[in-house]
């Protein structure tokens, strides 16, 4: 099952997703003549289904679009969302019925060329950073998905999110800080 001209996995992904420029005719003719690339396509399908499943589980920490949230709600997922103004805080929790947990933070993003998102512990230590998150300069808020799996097992805690931008010299500037006071409402004390 060898192939002299294997189709690139990314091209196969484009084909599977029916994206423009996916060279459909050539790919299909090749796939009807090549089991090796057919197997690669199956691997790409597995990857796509796996990512879809992860997204449905709400277990990825990432910035999401409104369309993503709309789609999740349309497919019957329960989205719990908290809004926090810059410098503000919110009392929050997560229940067993929730599927997706969103922290929506307000920010003036005009002129921001690059924005990093950091999660800060109660004692001020940066726990992790998402560099160069996708933002619109005209947007007034950012929707961040916290892992629902993580938060369902979490004890009551305070979590601070910080948005950072950079000037032309590369120096960091805080765009805003947002405090989430999470109260555990699920049974048990919670632990990681």
């Amino acid at each position: 099952m060898n192939c002299a001209n294997p189709i690139d996995a990314a091209v196969l992904a484009d084909y599977w997703l029916a994206l423009p420029g996916s060279e459909e005719d050539a790919v299909e003719l090749h796939l009807l003549d090549c089991d090796r690339c057919g197997q690669r396509l199956r691997e790409v399908i597995a990857l796509a289904e796996g990512v879809r499943s992860l997204a449905r589980e709400g277990s990825l920490r990432m910035v999401v679009s409104d369309v993503f949230l709309q789609r999740a709600a349309e497919t019957g997922l329960r989205v719990r969302e908290y809004f926090v103004p810059a410098g503000g805080s919110v009392e929050c929790t997560v229940t067993a019925e929730d599927d997706i947990l969103i922290g929506r933070v307000a920010a003036d993003l005009s002129g921001a060329k690059r924005v990093d998102m950091c999660i800060i512990s109660e004692n001020g230590v940066e726990q992790f950073r998402l560099p160069d998150i996708p933002v619109h300069s005209e947007a007034t808020s950012i929707a961040f998905q916290e892992s629902i799996t993580f938060m369902k097992s979490a004890p009551s805690l305070k979590m601070v999110m910080r948005l950072i931008t950079f000037d032309d010299k590369g120096s960091e500037h805080t765009l805003g800080e947002y405090t989430f006071n999470h109260t555990r409402s699920l049974p048990g004390s919670g632990a990681w």
């Binding site: 199956r42 277990s59 999401v64 369309v67 996708p134």
Partner: protein
């Protein structure tokens, strides 16, 4: 049965009435046609129907020696796939008619085997992507958004988006293969 027969030889064998070659055609082409069906019909059952219809139509043509260039079997099957998908979408009920005529002769092809992935490892691999790559992958695979929609969200050109998407897919595959 010589499994090393190339497509052209297989076509000629079927034209001469070789039933073993017919079975080989089903074994060889069924998984490929089913993948085509999954891609275009997004439904395993419909893909299965398509596979049966395409292979029977192909078999009829080969038995009647209507394929003038035997080496172009893949092209012929592709054309048949396209016509059959159009028929299915138009709601033309050829399926029952075809199955009535040939049902008893059909070789039931094996189902498509999509590999099982380690979801925990995949989660780690997705989380390890750069933020933009992760966004692109999730928006594309989960939302099934068009390239234009994702490009608009990220404020990048569609060609740049394609580069990000392709890099992310390669990173994911590398990460998954590294863990295997």
């Amino acid at each position: 049965m010589n499994l090393e027969l190339n497509d052209a030889e297989l076509v000629l064998q079927i034209g001469s009435g070789d039933h073993v070659a017919e079975a080989e055609l089903f074994r060889r082409m069924a998984p490929r046609v089913r993948l085509y069906g999954l891609r275009h019909l997004r439904d395993e059952s419909a893909a299965e129907d398509l596979t049966q219809m395409v292979l029977i139509t192909t078999l009829e043509a080969l038995r009647a020696r209507r394929l003038r260039e035997p080496e172009k079997l893949a092209g012929f099957v592709l054309g048949t796939c396209r016509m059959t998908v159009l028929d299915l979408r138009r709601g033309i009920q050829r399926k029952e008619r075809i199955l009535e005529r040939f049902g008893a002769d059909l070789v039931k092809p094996a189902p498509i085997s999509i590999p099982n992935l380690d979801q925990d490892q995949l989660a780690r691999c997705v989380q390890n992507l750069r933020e933009r790559e992760r966004t692109v992958i999730v928006m594309t695979f989960y939302d099934e958004q068009t390239g234009a929609d994702v490009a608009s969200f990220l404020r990048v050109s569609e060609s740049n988006l394609r580069v990000i998407r392709h890099r992310a897919i390669h990173e994911l595959r590398k990460c998954m293969e590294g863990a295997a």
